[in-house]
Amino acid sequence: MILCVAVSATLPFWASRYWSLLFLMFFLYLALAQAWNLLGGYSGLVSLGQQSFIGLGGYTVAVLSVYYGVPIWFCLPIAGVVAGMFGLVISGPLFRMRGEYFAVASWIVSESLSILFSNWAYVGYGSGMFIKPAYSLSLTQMYYAGLCVAVAAVITVCGVLTSKTGLGLMAACDNETAAGIAGVDVTRCRLYSFLVSALLTGVAAGLLYSYQVFIQPYKAFGIEWTVRIVFIVVIGGIGSIEGPIIGAAILVCLQQYFSDYPSAGLLLMGLTAMLCMLLAPRGIAGLIREKTGLELFPIRYG
């Protein structure tokens, strides 16, 4: 892994700008997928509402840099913090629900945010905002930022899972009552992972919108984000750290290949995801593990 990271660090010097862009997208999707996997793969919280944090992260960067002139690099961690704070606020009502209710409720939260932002004059209603200060960022700078975000995401998720909280989470997944008897504060552990996930998503989204320069409420809070993240994790391998890595690579390749026919690409992804659910519930990482026993990060659930 360290070798991989070192090699990727030198990429902008010898590859075209387009490849830098592809890798940037790969890093960002990887971070987003790891954050979702923390919730869905390890904590038993299947969330269809990660786009709330994506939109919030993006808008934080937009508002801070355009209206207050904060340099973009400072905006990114703040975006994560804002997303985390929203996660804290929304966890109150959301954690009362389980399973399917939690999933759809988290989706409704993001739809509500979408409507609120599209009616808010401060952020430009439905036409959105242009993050003009981001014009000055070069692709190379963003590439390195993306690399850092992706590496940080993997390290953070590993860190959470090897800690007491992580073990508590996985115990709670197996059997909540038994874990409770064993002394695990299930709610606190879940809240912790929820907040970490929100933070990671916010930072990655901030960088993503710094690249895209243009943010609009319907897309920023759109379900398409969750669809892509879920596909990454399902196809790559849920409940494992390598899964999102593989899945993100596949997504970026598919998007690149099908860029002229995006619907066909999404169609293929949907079919693959359904097939995976039927035939390979552990995803590609699971298949690799079963066939070869190869495991880059031996932290997995199930």
Binding site: M97, G99, V104, I108, S112, V230, G270, A273, M274, L278
Partner: protein, 290 residues
């Protein structure tokens, strides 16, 4: 306040349409504890099927129901039997994600086949109105939606109580193990329930297509409406679905009237969220069936 009264009337009628959209989700959720995330897309699929019949064969959408309802029944049956029944054994979340995958597949197939242009099933009813009082005018398609919702609910109520299959479905949802002990093939009944749900989605889809413009990507918004109705009214209860639909329709239109047009949907979501937090089993929920 005649305008408010107009909103109330429209809200109630729209609620009937919402109820007809939600009944399918309610059945699947009540019987199998499965939120079919592709339900909204089945609706849209029906709409496009109606469009196809109208443009290629000149059949009016309402007449086309004769073809669409059986087709969707078969589709729902097949999907449940071969796809969802298998993933349901893995736990509660895989079916959810499989449904998400199905939803995306349907949406993008429609996108590829029909392009993202706006579609509408225009019939003579589209601009007709029924006048109730001087200031309250009711559009014919809204009335049709309400009546179709009412009709579906009454029919299903009778079916679930009266026929052997209906009783088998209720038994499987009440207590699966006992039902199996009694000789009911629960997975087969699940497939029938899903087929019925898809058939109702077919009817609701045609009515929806006659009332509103639709796109391949319109599915999720109807899914959220259906989910809202099911939550507010209570899962598995027919009367609850009707009540939930009416309440949601009222919340949307009256709220939109009071707060402003951009907040129409938000009012509906707020009510839904409030019910989720305070009384998650819904108004008539708590029991599995009537």
């Amino acid at each position: 306040m005649p305008e408010l009264f107009q909103s109330v009337v429209n809200g109630v009628l729209l609620g009937g349409l919402y109820a007809s959209i939600a009944i399918g989700l309610s059945i699947v959720f009540g019987v199998m504890r499965l939120v079919n995330l592709a339900h909204g897309d089945l609706l849209i699929l029906a709409g496009y099927a109606g469009l196809l019949l109208a443009t290629c064969f000149g059949i009016s959408p309402l007449a086309g129901l004769v073809v669409i309802v059986p087709l969707l029944f078969i589709a729902g049956f097949g999907l449940q039997k071969h796809l969802f029944n298998r993933t349901m054994r893995q736990g509660p979340e895989p079916p959810l994600l499989t449904a998400l995958g199905l939803s995306i597949v349907i949406q993008n197939t429609l996108l590829v086949l029909f392009t993202p242009d706006a579609r509408f099933l225009s019939t003579d009813l589209s601009v007709q109105t029924v006048r109730i009082t001087d200031s309250v005018v009711v559009s014919a398609v809204y009335l049709l939606g309400f009546l179709s919702g009412l009709g579906i609910i009454i029919l299903l109520h009778a079916f679930l109580r009266g026929t052997a299959l209906g009783i088998a479905i209720r038994a499987s949802s009440d207590d699966e193990q006992t039902a199996r002990l009694m000789g009911i093939d629960t997975y087969e009944t699940y497939a029938y329930a899903a087929g019925i749900a898809a058939a109702t989605a077919g009817v609701a889809g045609i009515v929806m297509g006659m009332t509103f413009t639709f796109y391949p990507s319109s599915g999720p918004q109807y899914l959220i409406i259906a989910f809202g109705v099911v939550v507010i009214g209570g899962m598995g209860s027919m009367l609850g679905t009707l009540t939930g639909g009416i309440l949601l329709g009222l919340a949307q239109l009256v709220g939109g009237n009071l707060l402003g047009p951009g907040y129409q949907l938000l009012c509906g979501y707020a009510v839904l969220f409030a019910v989720l937090i305070m009384r998650p089993q819904g108004i008539f929920g708590g029991k599995v069936h009537d």
